[in-house]
């Protein structure tokens, strides 16, 4: 047997590691689902073109994160050229466009152009709806949820904390199974969350919760905002995708209602150090407790 290309053996390259949509959506489960849909409906050459466009978007996003904005723009142009090729099917074009627009939104955000960032997010959402409804890629529902999370961040940076809180809490409540889909999601009633894996929904819930926790470090919600969070708690006895988020939400509601000691004691075990990137959940509770004792 002839040797293959040595540094890239087949067994080292699962679809999840090979196709990084993490830039736009996050989660190996999401990536795998997208790639499987692509494998089922496109030929090898088309997949290569999509891969090429995604790679360029991923590089661009990485550069934008590093603050290399001109380089990011250059790689987005490369992604655009690859993804808009007339030889791609409408589905592949929409796939490339969704990944690119959501990543470009970040570039605009880094440039400080929030209006353009919002426009990009809306465009990405339109592409996601097309992928979901015309091409049966239900996994893009979760991508839209991710975009809502990005809207939350955008509202925070615009200083519109109440709006960020409202959208974040309604999104979190939806992910936890307590609230209907936020209207901003333009969701159909007949496409429920159950099409996504529990792990993916839980990961997304944690991401949104972290965004809300960050907000709590500097902003105090009013009574209505607190009640909105209370309404987003999964009903007692039901199993929410993320028990960690539920515990955090209960503790926050309790703290904000002024009976923090009782519930936060209950949650302490869940919020011990070791949460890694989610340490902000614990920090937010500590801040709320301190504020409570100050008050």
């Amino acid at each position: 047997m002839q040797p293959a290309i040595e540094p890239a053996r087949a067994e080292e390259r699962s679809p999840a590691s090979a196709h990084p949509v993490d830039a736009a959506a996050g989660g190996a489960a999401f990536q795998r689902a997208v790639w499987e849909s692509l494998v089922a409906s496109t030929d090898a050459l088309e997949r290569l073109r999509v891969l090429h466009a995604w790679d360029a978007s991923t590089r661009a996003l990485r550069m934008a994160r590093e603050g290399r904005l001109a380089s990011a723009a250059q790689h987005f142009r490369e992604s655009e050229r690859a993804g808009e090729s007339a030889s791609l099917s409408p589905m592949s074009q929409a796939l490339c466009a969704s990944v690119r627009e959501s990543a470009l939104a970040y570039l605009e955000f880094r440039r400080g152009d929030h209006a353009s960032a919002e426009l990009r997010l809306r465009r990405a959402m339109e592409h996601d709806i097309e992928l979901e409804r015309r091409h049966g890629m239900s996994v893009f529902y979760m991508h839209r949820v991710q975009l809502l999370h990005n809207f939350v961040r955008l509202h925070v940076h615009e200083g519109d904390f109440a709006r960020a809180w409202s959208l974040g809490v309604r999104t979190l409540g939806h992910l936890q199974g307590a609230l209907p889909a936020p209207i901003e999601l333009a969701a159909r009633r007949d496409v429920p969350l159950r099409t996504a894996s529990t792990a993916l929904v839980a990961a997304m819930a944690c991401q949104v919760a972290c965004e809300l926790a960050k907000l709590l470090l500097t902003w105090r919600p009013d009574g209505r905002a607190v009640e909105l969070l209370a309404s987003a708690l999964a009903p007692e006895g039901s199993e929410a995708p993320s028990e960690l988020c539920s515990a955090w939400m209960r503790a926050v509601v309790a703290c904000l209602r002024g009976d923090g000691d009782h519930v936060s004691e209950e949650c302490e075990a869940l919020l011990q150090p070791g949460l890694g990137r989610m340490a902000v959940l614990r920090e937010s509770l500590e801040v709320l407790r301190l504020r409570g004792s100050d008050g």
């Binding site: 002839q2 040797p3 293959a4 290309i5 040595e6 540094p7 890239a8 087949a10 390259r13 090979a18 090898a44 050459l45 290569l48 073109r49 891969l51 090429h52 790679d55 550069m63 603050g67 290399r68 904005l69 001109a70 380089s71 723009a73 250059q74 790689h75 142009r77 490369e78 050229r81 690859a82 090729s85 030889s87």
Partner: protein
């Protein structure tokens, strides 16, 4: 439309892998500076564009590593676009200071005119103001100062006055600060080394030694003709032996016909001193520096052939060796929009190879005025001129597969009618084989204990 083999690739001749008896080649993408080992049959398929005959994961890897590019892509535009963007994005403000015009040495290939003149306090202050204006305008995260010569350590008094002010400026603008120095090493004793690292934040020291004494002392004597090698060598080795100074050490050997046979011995003598693991060694061909010094050099082919031998020996002796070139998005001072050099006379330049040279007057295209009447701070247009030149086909670079890793070489030398192509253009295939052999050796060393266990 499909994919094509990128024009920016290099492939070795076929070789027989003695481990498995198969014929293979090494394929190098200069777009990403990555290489792959490819079976002969796979290479034939790649070369002929028959990608459907390859496993899908292999093709995906080739696409992602940019060995393959979309058939319709204008690759030159992509490479130059990335280079321009990288220059715009740079968060490092790099400024070069020549604190003095003096040098003790009278190197045969140097045409700088040395004299006992230091950068005056007035010029220092004007330059500091210029640096501050740049820090204020640009969004920089780092201020990097290069201390160059003539011999910068003869201008230590200037460094002592300027360093604290430069650090202060960096701090004021929330920037990290670091410096490098290129010195002949004569004054690089223990106290000066300590001072450079601890007081002047020097993080990189480069010294040139042109071989053992019998070679070095012929090309790099004092102006009075006295020998210098022993002192430079001892200073450098003593510095390399210190573990209390966090500084990168580079050893450059300028190689011409007269000293090419001495490079091996230089490497061995460093290794005998036991400090080779600390020293980044490289050989550089003697080139025209406002003179005809290139006439003393090896031919480019000779240099390239011998260089791989020096690399192999250096690696064998335990020096850290960079065998394969890396992607060169930002070429030199001339392609940095804010990059600038000030010489001891207060002259400003966008090139390190122009000051103190009689051949280049104050109107040279890389001159940027004087501190009393400087050019505008922003040199973006000038910095991008080189990529426009490459794009226009003024040099053969647009057609060269090495462009992404060499950036086109020295723009000034091209304009003077020289061909500044790096040695890698001529020996990249041998370098690939060497890199692969070294990688295999490392892998074997890594796995051996486990195998024994």
């Amino acid at each position: 439309m499909g994919f094509k083999l990128s024009r920016y690739h290099v492939v070795t001749d076929r070789f027989r892998d003695m481990r498995d008896g198969l014929d293979k080649r090494l394929l190098f993408s200069t777009r990403t500076a990555q290489y792959r080992v490819v079976g002969e049959r796979e290479w034939r398929a790649i070369e002929q564009g028959r990608f459907d005959g390859l496993p899908q994961f292999v093709v995906e890897d080739l696409v992602r590593s940019e060995f393959l590019a979309p058939a319709e892509e204008n690759e030159l535009a992509t490479i130059l676009g990335r280079n321009r963007a990288a220059a715009e994005d740079s968060r490092s403000l790099y400024q070069v200071v020549q604190p003095t015009a003096a040098c003790q040495m009278g190197c045969g290939y140097c045409s700088q005119i040395h004299r006992a003149r230091a950068l005056s306090p007035e010029h220092q202050d004007q330059f500091l103001q210029r640096v501050e204006a740049r820090l204020r305008v640009g969004r920089f995260e780092r201020l990097k100062i290069g201390w160059f010569g003539a011999e910068p350590l003869l201008g230590l008094a200037v460094m002592r006055r300027m360093s604290p002010k430069l650090r202060e400026l960096a701090e004021l603008h929330d920037c990290e600060y670091e410096a490098k120095i290129v010195t002949n090493g004569l004054l690089l004793d223990a106290d000066v080394s300590t001072e450079l690292v601890e007081s002047h934040c020097v993080r990189s020291i480069e010294v040139t030694i042109d071989g053992p004494a019998e070679f070095h002392d012929r090309s790099r004597p004092l102006k009075g003709g006295q020998a210098t090698q022993r002192r430079v060598f001892d200073n450098f080795v003593a510095l390399a032996a210190r573990d209390d100074l966090d500084v990168r050490l580079s050893l450059r050997c300028n190689v011409g016909r007269a000293n090419a046979d001495g490079v091996d011995e230089l490497l061995r003598s460093i290794a005998e001193a036991g400090v080779q693991a600390r020293i980044h060694f490289y050989a550089a061909p003697i080139h025209a520096w406002g003179n005809d010094a290139d006439q003393q050099g090896l031919t480019p082919d000779e240099f390239a052939a011998r260089e791989v031998g020096w690399m192999a020996l250096a690696a064998e002796l335990g020096f850290p060796v960079a065998v394969l070139p890396e992607r060169a998005e930002i070429l030199c001072l001339a392609t940095m929009p804010q990059g600038e050099l000030v010489d001891a006379n207060g002259g400003l330049f966008q090139c390190t190879e122009v000051s103190y040279l009689a051949a280049y007057g104050p109107d040279h295209e890389y001159a940027r005025g004087r501190l009393e009447s400087p050019a505008a701070l922003d040199g973006t247009e000038r910095a991008h001129a080189w990529s426009r030149e490459v794009e226009s086909g003024a040099t053969p670079c647009a057609q060269c597969p090495m462009l992404p890793v060499c950036g086109g070489g020295c723009p000034k030398l091209w304009r003077e009618g020289h061909e500044p192509c790096p040695s890698a253009k001529r020996n990249i295939r041998l370098r690939l084989l060497l890199a692969h052999a070294l990688e295999r050796k490392r892998a074997t060393t890594r796995t051996e204990p486990a195998t024994r266990a």
